[in-house]
Symmetry: D2
């Protein structure tokens, strides 16, 4: 109820603050019998961890995960899987100057009014560092979904600040720090970020994620629609301000004759739906796009107030990502994987097992 | 779990299909002592009901609501409030021709694969008619929030198909069937719709909704962020494909110096955040924008398949809204109201009562 | 959250008060494709309805159920099933004298302090009449469990006030108004009740219920243990003050060598466990016993206070069951069925389908 | 959904197995601003820890708790509080001989069939060791309830095997290893346990717990009745087979004139209700009694089967409590505290803050 649990059957309850002793999560409802060790989880954490290029925060965190429970002789037992990551590089003195003031665009002001107390060290609970346990949990979901249905997840940055990044191919994504599916544009992105850092400013980004080989029939028809749950999961990522499924906002100006994806014996002919109709997966690719706002912690002085309501100027030092979107791709994939995992199990509850390859017709070219 | 309940403390569980005997909902968790009768609910239902202009479906439904429980001598008792609306004008023979085929862009295909059975009469459970009970429930939430905090909800259409609708003033919204906040553009909208109807086609729309006088501190910080819950609620409305909070997708190209709303002793200086920071309300206006896809049921013949996978052409007759966005404004307001209501009660649970006017500083010009 | 929903996947949300317009429930999560009509539900309602003998309340309620949704062409569609029963014989003037006072042993006092308002007509929401929708919902669960696993439910009264009722055979239960599994003792029970009624007093009862052919593996291991959920469901029935599973309170004085049910290749040799070990069903019979307190609404004058705290004498007229336990057997069966149904679906979610006849060894003589 | 979370608003999600790396829990929904450190939690863990007398398991576990999150500068922040206890004395070789067989009365058989895999080391997840995190979480609930309402919790053993333990006074409970409220009977209890241990057998126990100074109005009226939730919580403790509230099973043979607690201007005249009417607290003491079965792990050889269904004799060596009831008193208190804590917050959500001393009349002599 206090909002630290994600999912309904495959649940992830996280804990921890940016500069506390540890962060982690408890995953409940994982099917028993899945082969699992830290080696399945660590690579996903490494994709998201800080300090891997000059374009992200320079905080050094190995983000080494420990499985505390739920696995016996290398297989899940069906009982809760607890993951823990000890915080290492905390330097909380960096944040001392912001204890009494509110950073524009930051959660400080809202936390203070909600709880009457807040942990200011590194943003406390509101830090994007808290996406690490989610990425860890999603590694388990990804493995199970892949084994069960062949589902795979892909993601890339499609815009950095004012620079659109044309899609070239998924294979390029691991080769640059931006998760750009376009090798040629990387120098331009690097120059953009270098200029921004020098200016003491920050920028936003757009991230696209896709799930392929999704079984037909996932999602509930009225309120826990698959797309509604995806929107919830994505908007829950730090700094996200917008979510689109399929054609998204482009569908406003489309005609019905243009938007509605026709079906053929070979599958759907297009995918404006983004893989979801009536809140339920169709077997086509699930396509999602999100808008990430510019980082609020910047060196440029800004107008604000202190706790007493007096005007102050705020500059934020410490180590921050000048574009939080740069590390957001694996997080967005993780959220999508967790939503699909939960709905795969929900589907089993009411309707019995999804049979891989269920659809009597192929998902088709658009899929 | 099967997804027909909205909310966690103030819950709305709906039932019914487009052409079944009745639709309705059970509202649980309403605070006791609120004055309530059908007269509080009917006006909201009337704003959304079909058949009120030539631009919407011609199905005639008075949508008369009956309160079956939870009210004693004109006041809520704290026990479940059941609302029921009998379906009147069903004409299910109109739909006979679609039982064996799947309409492009429609939920038919997904329902069929999920459940192995579907109610084809008027779209069954997937009909937008099922938003009526939600609008009814939200009337109660709106009343309580207004009494408690002075919260008010406003909404308008900001784009119809390719036509943007510049905002002039909220006072114009009730005066036209499009919920346009702009009286001068109405003739153009009417002509656009008339042409579309003649062409047997449909179009999308963009709807904006706002909540004003929202207490500071609503929303949970990690997964049940206020903006995440709003995204979930909005994406759960039939035909919605995109959701934005505050600056939304515009924030991608913004700089941190531009996006982060500065604070002054007189309040926030701007509202790119859309009233939510770190997942928690700031006391500023909550601003939301949604993309609605074009109606999938159109008269123009389209390629599809039947249950056996054979190619067929599908034309949809019957009575349909050529733009489901036209009646979506009160629905979007309703969803926003239900989210805020639930979070107001969640806030009380953990942190005690929100005091109206809590913020030590005014929400300010941007608010 | 306000406590009017039972279950997690197969959920039953009830509404209504004793003397309001209607009572009913919304059942969500029912598997699709189950044949269902009112004829499946009405017989269970008839077993519990009032006015069927001189030993129960003389209120005349046909308790005719109407299915409002979720069924298409005689089969469930997987969408919510709403049941409604109109209240007929309300006579709320009978209760006028208790509006300002609190009946000893009754919910009046607690409701008043919780909500600051209460519906005094027939006990409002606290009336045992509200078990009717649950019995209706359970008819659906019983049918599904029976088709899926062959599960059957049986129940009987095993003690009426001071009179123990030795078990003779299940076949006798339908032949007397007490649900006694013993035809010989019925005249004694009738005489006991007649004397009690004359004395203006009431008595308690003990009810035993059993589920047979339960699949192995239902129940969650730590907090949603099957026995914990059964205890919750049973203690939630009006007037229940105690719950036992298997040997129950007799296990206090047992030795480990006596209590622990030995296993043989032919099955368990005894059933002290009552069919549950470690919170999970073993395939043996689930055996439950509950204690029901004497009805609090009695004609004998009793000391109490009014709302202002002044001493008053309270006599309760109107129509009441002199032993609410007499109609409790079908209710206890219903609660057990709903718990098993929910856990059958929960099991599918995490572990996949239970295969009927799963256990490699028979449940055995004690089962 | 997989049953490892207790509560709805104040939630406790536990993890860990008897012989895994660590056990612990995540507490979500704790009100912010509560002073909290390990020193508040450790004493409750020490009351329950093993190895403190010759009558309990000789496993040596210091059960040292570490707070991993949710506390800043000595006060709760409203974010999740994670507690972790590293397992120390594991000796899992003691359990090697039970991997292939099922111990009578033990969870082995059920786990094996549910999950197809089980952690046999010390009972894995089914071990009573898993009550430690709950006791830790309840220390927080007890502190908050005490500060808010003055609520206190007391418990004692009222029967050990065949020996009833007459109540003398709460002050004696901490002075003996049995939690007996009677100093004179302790030598008899010790002799009883010594004989049992020699015989390689085990016995059951009855535990009574009480909550005093409980606010009026906690509990939901239909399914989440306060007594139903207590029954659920208690039956969820390892080895519990029966639960009573107030008069419990004695109420079966009571008359209405005897059972219904009369009210006077000075308060209730008796407490057969056990502090709950209509599912809602009355402000009287909440009184609960539970039956604990004899430990199933005993040295006496017993008939069982192996995984292949072949007959075997099973003796259980290793370190076990010969009466799990001996350490159950603090666990039962903990469960009661967690239920009340959750319902105190639920009450705030729907009805606003409970005001301490709300009832206009004192709870009275029986209270």
């Amino acid at each position: 109820m206090a909002g630290n649990t994600l999912g309904t059957i495959f649940t992830v309850t996280t804990f921890g603050e940016s500069h506390g002793p540890a962060i982690g999560c408890v995953i409940d409802g994982c099917p028993p019998g899945l082969e699992l060790s830290e080696a399945d989880i660590q690579p996903e954490l490494d994709r998201r961890k800080p300090g891997t290029s000059r374009h992200v925060t320079q905080r050094k965190e190995p983000d080494t995960v420990e499985i505390l429970s739920g696995v016996y002789e290398g297989r899940t037992t069906g009982t809760p899987i607890a993951l823990m990551i000890r915080n290492q590089d905390q330097r909380s003195h960096d944040y001392g100057n912001i204890v009494e003031t509110f950073r524009p665009g930051h959660a400080d002001y809202a936390y203070w009014h909600k709880y009457g107390i807040r942990d200011p060290r590194g943003g406390g609970r509101s830090s994007a560092r808290l996406t690490a346990p989610v990425v860890g949990a999603a590694a388990i979901a990804k493995k199970w979904l892949n084994q069960q249905y062949g589902t795979v997840f892909k993601g890339c940055m499609s815009q950095l600040g004012e620079l659109p990044i044309p899609f070239v191919g998924w294979e390029h994504v691991p080769d640059n720090p931006f998760f750009a599916a376009n090798p040629g544009i990387v120098p331009e992105l690097e120059a953009y970020m270098d200029a921004l850092r020098k200016a003491g400013d920050s920028c936003g980004a757009r991230i696209d994620v896709v799930a392929q080989n999704v079984p037909v029939g996932l999602g509930e028809p009225i309120y826990d629609k698959l797309d509604a749950e995806i929107a919830y999961a994505m908007m829950g990522i730090n700094a996200v301000k917008g979510v689109e499924i399929g054609a998204g906002f482009r569908s406003v100006a489309q005609k019905g004759t243009e938007h509605g994806d026709e079906l053929t014996p070979q599958g759907f002919a297009s995918n404006n739906a983004g893989g979801v109709l009536g809140g339920i997966s169709t077997g086509q690719d699930i396509t999602v796009s999100i808008a990430i706002k510019p980082t609020s912690s910047i060196r440029t002085p800004r107008h604000s107030i202190d706790k007493a309501g007096n005007p102050v100027m705020v500059e934020t030092f410490g180590r921050h990502d000048p574009c939080v979107g740069i590390r957001a791709t694996p997080i967005a994939e993780a959220m999508l994987a967790l939503v699909l995992m939960d709905h795969a199990l929900r589907h089993r509850a009411q309707c019995g097992d999804v049979v891989a390859g269920t659809p009597p017709i192929p998902a088709g070219a658009g899929g």
